[in-house]
């Protein structure tokens, strides 16, 4: 474990408010259900979930950094670890495993054995292509973009489609340098 991960369990700190798991799961279910009725096409729903997640992530990252009490990550490996061990713990109360690093350290998988979003859920035949938890991809993408990492995030394994775990593929595209709002000579 890295030094940055050592501070006491952030999910247990009083700063993090909790919500009933069933309420959370069913609320998310209602959102997906509504999107399915509104957009009718599965692909469009997946895209909408991703966009919603992006907007959540872009806001959530500030909250996370304020409460999580972690130090600056030096590389992408560390970032992935923090997401898996601290981020998921704080917001979903589960931890992910980081695995399958690509040789250039730009791509990895977050593996979730347990996912509170999918309790009770079973995909009916009409929704086979639905990536039910796609909102998580959006959240990760949004959050990382706010800390100047452009990423591509997608589900490669989904328990709802019969896989043995949830696997989110996280790919770092580039570090976006921070742009200053003023010019050097001003």
């Amino acid at each position: 474990m890295r030094a940055s991960l050592r501070p006491s369990d952030p999910a247990a700190s009083p700063a993090v408010e909790r919500v009933n798991a069933e309420l959370f799961t069913l609320t998310y279910g209602a959102i997906v259900r509504q999107l399915l009725t509104d957009y009718e096409e599965i692909d469009e729903v997946n895209k909408q979930l991703d966009t919603m997640g992006y907007n959540i992530g872009a806001r959530l990252v500030d909250d996370f950094l304020a409460k999580a009490n972690i130090t600056k990550c030096t590389d992408f490996r560390e970032t992935a670890d923090v997401i898996a061990k601290v981020g998921f713990k704080m917001f979903l109360n589960v931890t992910a495993t980081v695995a399958n690093w690509s040789s250039d350290n730009m791509e990895c998988s977050l593996i979730l054995d347990d996912n509170p979003l999918v309790d009770f859920v079973e995909l009916p035949e009409t929704c086979q292509g639905l990536s039910y938890c796609n909102i998580l991809c959006g959240v990760l993408r949004g959050a990382l973009e706010m800390v100047s990492m452009r990423t591509e995030v997608k589900f490669v394994k989904d328990m709802l489609r019969g896989d043995d775990a949830f696997e989110i593929r996280l790919k770092l595209l580039e570090h976006v340098p921070e742009e200053y709002p003023y010019k050097n000579d001003e």
């Binding site: 069913l26 209602a30 259900r33 309790d119 009770f120 995909l123 009916p124």
Partner: protein
């Protein structure tokens, strides 16, 4: 010993949302229709009986020759109906209670529309397993 049993779930709007022949007796085509007919006919009796008791399990509400109709009504007025020829009340009660739990899980699935047909193969397998266990 082979037994006949036919299990149907009827939604509050009186449409059947799940049906299965769970008996061990060899299946006959005309029998299936007859079973549906008997169950359908006993819906009226259920409507009367349901207000005379506080229990969800209404026991045997109707008879047709040697076939008996047992009914369990959920709080949401969904009726679980079993047509059977064995007199095993405890087993049937347990069967209904467990199917009720399965049905609740089904309802909690956000992608299932209440009152629509239950097409989940998982539900079907579980119901058949319960039928083998209790009936």
């Amino acid at each position: 010993m082979s037994s006949t049993a036919c299990f149907v779930i009827v939604s509050r709007n009186d449409s059947p949302i799940y049906e299965s022949e769970v008996g061990t007796a060899p299946k006959k085509d005309e029998a299936a229709h007859l079973h549906q007919f008997i169950l359908h006919a006993s819906l009226d009796i259920v409507q009367d009986v349901v207000w005379n008791t506080n229990n969800m399990f209404l026991k045997v509400v109707d008879k047709f020759n040697d076939l008996l109709v047992s009914v369990y009504v959920t709080a949401g007025h969904t009726r679980l109906m079993l047509l059977h020829d064995s007199r095993n009340e405890d087993g049937i009660k347990n069967f209904f209670q467990e199917v009720h739990e399965l049905y609740i899980k089904m309802l909690l699935n956000p992608l299932y529309v209440p009152g629509s047909r239950i097409s989940s193969p998982f539900f079907d397998t579980r119901v058949r397993a319960l039928a083998r266990k209790y009936l």
